[in-house]
């Protein structure tokens, strides 16, 4: 769907210095959006449409409110595109392509572990809400730079979900010190054998991972060892965002072990962790 998103809220998330923003858009896309999907948006007000920057930007849908026809996007000001986006004001309209992509799959039953690195937390909130509504057991592993980052990036909101959380920070200012992969490894180690090899209670634990590539690779490899199904959300530069340009491909192994390409925009952004070929740049 191609439509206009009216900006109804646009504000800092937490500390200004963290450069995190919350953007709430009203439009028809909200009615059909699903947790884990993304939109591809123009960063400039449609009324002052410029050809620079030329490309749309993919941003995950962090929250969906169907009654109010609103979606929430959370983003970090990183390069030129998000810097310009950050100037958009309430009342302006952005061109929105989407919702796009597949999103994480929700297991029918059992436990869902969310593993997030940094702003990889953003697409997981809508998923968490849905999983809770469905009665799944939820657990969050979230690692970030430091306390200020985690608090700015939505920790309070997560705390309100009242789920089990393992936080970690690089400087130890909140939770355990180090990478998020450590608490995940420990938790996996503590699983009963039945969960580990997937024989006794098939797929009791499912893992959804979003974060920097290296972190997703580590978690995916851990999960492979423990025979736990993991889904990872890949990022790649996008041109069309609809599968037409082959700009955003990722490398996977198909069932016969052959290297194939899939499109992050159309076939993803979420893929089974064990199929991703991490060391190929493509």
């Amino acid at each position: 769907m191609l439509s206009q998103g009216l900006i109804v809220r646009h504000e800092d998330m937490g500390d200004y210095d963290q450069k995190l923003r919350r953007l709430v858009l009203k439009g028809p896309f909200a009615k059909i959006a699903k947790a884990g999907q993304f939109v591809s948006l123009q960063v400039q007000d449609s009324a002052r449409a410029s050809l620079d920057p030329l490309l749309r930007r993919p941003i995950s849908i962090a929250e969906i409110c169907q009654e109010r026809e609103e979606i929430t996007l959370l983003y970090r000001i990183k390069g030129r595109g998000t810097k310009i986006l950050a100037q958009a004001r309430c009342g302006e309209s952005l061109s929105i392509l989407g919702p796009l992509g597949n999103g994480f799959s929700l297991p029918q039953e059992g436990e869902l572990w969310l593993v997030a690195g940094g702003i990889g937390i953003f697409p997981l909130f809508a998923l968490a809400q849905k999983a809770i509504a469905q009665g799944l057991n939820l657990r969050l592993f979230w690692g970030g730079e430091n306390k200020a980052f985690l608090e700015s990036a939505g920790l309070t909101q997560w705390r309100e979900l009242a789920i089990e959380m393992s936080l970690s920070t690089l400087d130890g200012s909140l939770g355990s010190q180090g990478l998020v992969t450590e608490p995940v490894r420990e938790a996996l180690n503590k699983l009963e054998p039945g969960n580990k090899n997937g024989e006794a209670q098939e797929n009791r634990v499912h893992i959804a991972v979003c974060g920097p590539k290296g972190m997703m690779q580590s978690v995916a490899e851990l999960c492979k060892t423990f025979k736990i199904p993991a889904e990872v959300s890949l990022e790649e530069r996008m041109g069309c965002a609809v599968g037409a340009c082959l700009g955003c491909v990722c490398a996977l192994k198909d069932s016969e072990g052959r290297l194939i390409h899939k499109k992050v925009c159309l076939d993803g952004p979420v893929f089974p962790g064990e199929e991703v070929v991490w060391d190929e740049t493509c």
């Binding site: 769907m1 191609l2 123009q42 050809l51 620079d52 920057p53 030329l54 490309l55 749309r56 595109g81 061109s95 392509l97 790649e236 530069r237 996008m238 041109g239 069309c240 965002a241 609809v242 599968g243 037409a244 340009c245 082959l246 700009g247 955003c248 491909v249 990722c250 290297l259 390409h261 159309l266 190929e280 740049t281 493509c282």
Partner: protein, 306 residues
């Protein structure tokens, strides 16, 4: 008021309207269906195919530049056989021209694909992309050497009964010379222009953004170069021209028609606005209405007067 006649001709082919989508930006025709129905378009050009499947280049394959896009997809495609078996049939019957785009690294590559693509195969025309390196000639591009370009065209023409469109590279000193060469080779029409060779550097990582170092520059940034080449070729060579390079609005499309293009292709513009082809079509129609043209063909080359 009589409706404006939007049809246009590319040699033997009649298009319902002058709007085509450009190769490599419109997949195999399915991806944009939700945004733009096939039958609204004059034609679509499919992703470039090669005799054998190709995985293409590593990522990153894209880099944004001011009003432009660099791409180095590297001709990822399923190969001729899979294309005929799994992709082409899905397009079904539409009143829209289906243009296959073929690429190769040798004359044999081109000839073999031309042989397999004939009038009964569901394709309306062949577009020959000659901007790949000619492996036999030390990597020199077919598209930058008039003699090689002529040979490729002749090889393709000898093997197929489909109309053949030569897609020219802008990375040459003399675009008119290239156009004349492919005309000698038998081209029925020309597509102008392919991408300009460019690159960009990531100043944090201190290395090229694209895994392939170089990429093709497309989008609005290159429009002035594309319009100039269409203009020059229209003055010198008597072949229909599909004009492209940076079209995002109907005004841009009219610019190409006035410069001498008989049809226009929209590439990177689809990424900016997936409904660009529809909006451009309507914009051209209104322009004709308001100025009293009964046929869109009347616009072709108008700016060359006086």
């Amino acid at each position: 008021m009589k409706p404006v006649d939007m049809t246009t001709r590319l040699g033997e082919i009649t298009l319902r309207n002058p709007i085509i989508t450009a190769s490599g930006t419109y997949g195999f025709g399915e991806e944009y269906l939700a945004y733009c129905p096939l039958e609204a378009l004059g034609g679509i050009t499919l992703k470039g195919i090669t005799p054998l499947p190709r995985l293409g280049n590593p990522v990153p394959r894209l880099a944004e530049t001011p009003a432009g896009l660099l791409n180095a997809v590297g001709l990822e495609n399923p190969g001729l056989e899979e294309f005929l078996k799994s992709y082409l049939p899905k397009l079904g019957q539409a009143p829209t021209a289906i243009i296959a785009n073929i690429s190769g690294f040798s004359l044999e590559d081109y000839a073999s694909m031309a042989r397999a693509l004939q009038q009964d195969s569901g394709i309306t025309a062949l577009e020959v992309n000659i901007s790949c390196p000619n492996v036999k000639h030390g990597g020199m591009h077919f598209g930058t050497d008039p003699q090689s370009a002529q040979e490729v065209m002749a090889a393709v023409k000898a093997e197929t009964n489909l109309p053949v469109i030569a897609k020219l590279s802008p990375n040459v000193t003399d675009i008119v010379g290239m156009a004349r060469a492919v005309q000698r080779g038998g081209a029925d029409a020309l597509s102008l222009i392919n991408t300009l060779l460019g690159m960009s550097i990531d100043i944090d990582a201190q290395r090229p953004v694209l895994a392939n170092t170089f990429g093709g520059l497309s989008g609005p940034a290159i429009r002035p170069v594309a319009v100039r080449m269409v203009w020059q070729v229209a003055e010198a060579v008597d072949l229909p021209i599909i004009g492209m390079g940076g079209i995002t609005s109907w005004e841009d499309a009219v610019e190409f028609l006035l410069a001498g293009a008989t049809a226009v292709s929209i590439g990177t513009g689809n990424f900016y606005n997936p409904q660009a082809p529809l909006e451009i079509l309507e914009g051209i129609r209104t322009y004709c209405e308001q100025r009293g043209y009964s046929k869109v063909k009347e616009l072709v080359g108008l700016a060359h007067r006086g």
